[in-house]
Amino acid sequence: MYKKTDSEDILYLKSIIPSGRILVGKEISRDYAHDELGGIEKLPDVLINAVSEEEIAKVMAYAYEKEIPVVARGSGTDLVGAAVALEGGIMICTKLMNHIKELDEANLTVTVEPGVLLMDLQAYVEERDYFYPPDPGEKSATIGGNISTNAGGMRAVKYGVTRDYVRGLRVVLPDGSIEKIGGKVVKNSSGYDLKDLIIGSEGTLCIITEATLKILPKPAFSVSMLLPFLTIEKAIEAVPEIIRSKASLTAIEYMSLDTIISAEDFLGKKFPDTNYEAYILLTFDGNSMEEIEKEYTKVAQLCIDMGAIDGYFIDTDERKKSVWNARGAFLEAIKASTDLMDECDVVVPKNRVADFIKYSHEVAKQVGLRIPSFGHAGDGNLHIYLCKDGMEEKVWEEKTKKAFDLLYARAREYGGMVSGEHGIGYAKKVYLNRQVGERQIALMQGIKKVFDPKNILNPGKVI
């Protein structure tokens, strides 16, 4: 049992955090009771808007001594309940720690506080002709959150995921001690890689207070292409062939017409083409237009041979905006199209994407649920949404359980994993368990115990 925060705790916390940045009980907005998952709500007892590592260290030292649970939170945009204070206690929000501390052009790194928003980081480096490749759809997420879920995004096909861009971290451990892990070095064979353990640990091992991230020189040119197909099956069947063509692609996304229409309704803006059932969206980047042209010609021709109606160029800021804004709004659009939804963020081997999508259509029919989907076809990560559409609570629960059981079982069969980029949090624990088995869960629990022997950091999550 955790200690319930009492007036003495609050008095102490108020002595280290100035008023205005510490909120208690009813002062805390309902927004902090949930993330974007929906269906699970719990307010923390105390909310602290931290501005420094020292503050976090002091709060953790106190919480550790008193055994008060603590949850770290960024923008709260996660989809698995990871940023919800299931046990109440203290929530440390890092959104005010939003400074970009250093751009090191000799080492090609940028050092940031955890509350810097992904969109601000991307804009900051791009203004200086650099490039931070991880590109999840949710641009208002914090970097701390991106690291905690090992966020992936649309450019993973060519550039990899957040993990590939984290060089060093400063963290506060559950007992309040501060550790610097990794650094600006490119290579590192110095013992167990704690940094990689922390990435994707969803705030269960420590709280990230600073991150040194790898950046790249910005590619001079980038062109996207939208390829319409008559059916979703035809579209996704083209993907393995695109990959096999050895073309250098940054992104391979697939989208269905109903998802595009939802995004149009949600944004109040028309998509450039809505005449076909399904679309593949490709991005090419490079340092010369000739090089890009060669690549897109090869791939477009291949897709047309595979049944694409045409290939439409997305080569200017306005065109990129009209397509990528819609792509970025898919999640919100599907959410707005129903009263409640739940999601499945499985990742399967790339050659199983088409089979899995087809299977999700079968599940939709079999269970009797609307299940729209879109996803990163090029890296096997699919976003599949179960929509409640006004059905009774009990029926909804039964149907989602049945659909999830079927989908995750099939993903396992294909050699896939429970989550590609959203994480496990609270909502997917049971499926992680089924996937990796007792032995691996025991290893994870052992690691958790070494970092957090009193289990005060984000309890009830991941394992």
Binding site: L226, Y312, F313, E318
Partner: protein
Amino acid sequence: MNIIVCIKQVPGTTNVNIDPVTGTLIRDGVAAKMNPYDLEALELGLQLIKKNGGTLNVVSMGPNSALEVLREAIYMGADGGVLISDRKFGGADVLATSYTLCSGIRAIGDYDLIITGKQTTDGDTAQVGSELAEHLGIPHIANVRKAEVKGGVLECVYQLDNKIYTADIAMPCLICADSGINTPRLPSFKRKVEYGKAEDRIRIITFADIEDQDENHYGLKGSPTKVEKIFEPDKKVERKMISGTDLASKTYDVLKAHKFV
């Protein structure tokens, strides 16, 4: 129906440098694109053709590099393009530009409708469309949000200030499309492969091809507007981290040094 859509090649980004000596935009080496407002005009035209049949040609005035935007328009669905290009046309202001376009369009032949975009992203005057109509002596409407052919006339919905009007306009006429009225279609890979450089679909009109041979009506000579100076607004953003102790007074010193307090 025969439609002409006026298009212009503009710098591909808003971060354009200005030559400190001549005070003109440095266009060399900067990626170029079709003026985004013209894309909406072109989309409006292509939709009218789809409904009513006919042909759509695009017209642009500019250097040879502007052939790129004519090709792009053809890849989007235009039937052909005309480039009005001559050294004598260079340095034109709004008056000379609209007069040159008028001379070029007269040399092309018959049309039922001319469509222009609202404005360009590099000049921003939003006057060329209306002036072109005046030179051609045809009726025109600006800020058009919808246009439909009805009983031989063009029914236009347009916006002036906060009011939406509907008016019929006799053809031939000119309309300036308002901004944000549609999402322009994307250029087609198939059309690009089919038409390539589209040489047989693009015609170039030079000074020698136009009727009015008075050089004083074109280019810098025909431009009463004299630009004294073009300068870039200062948009430098600096970030300075202040750390350690006594932060308030250190911050105050920085603000004072920059004359914010």
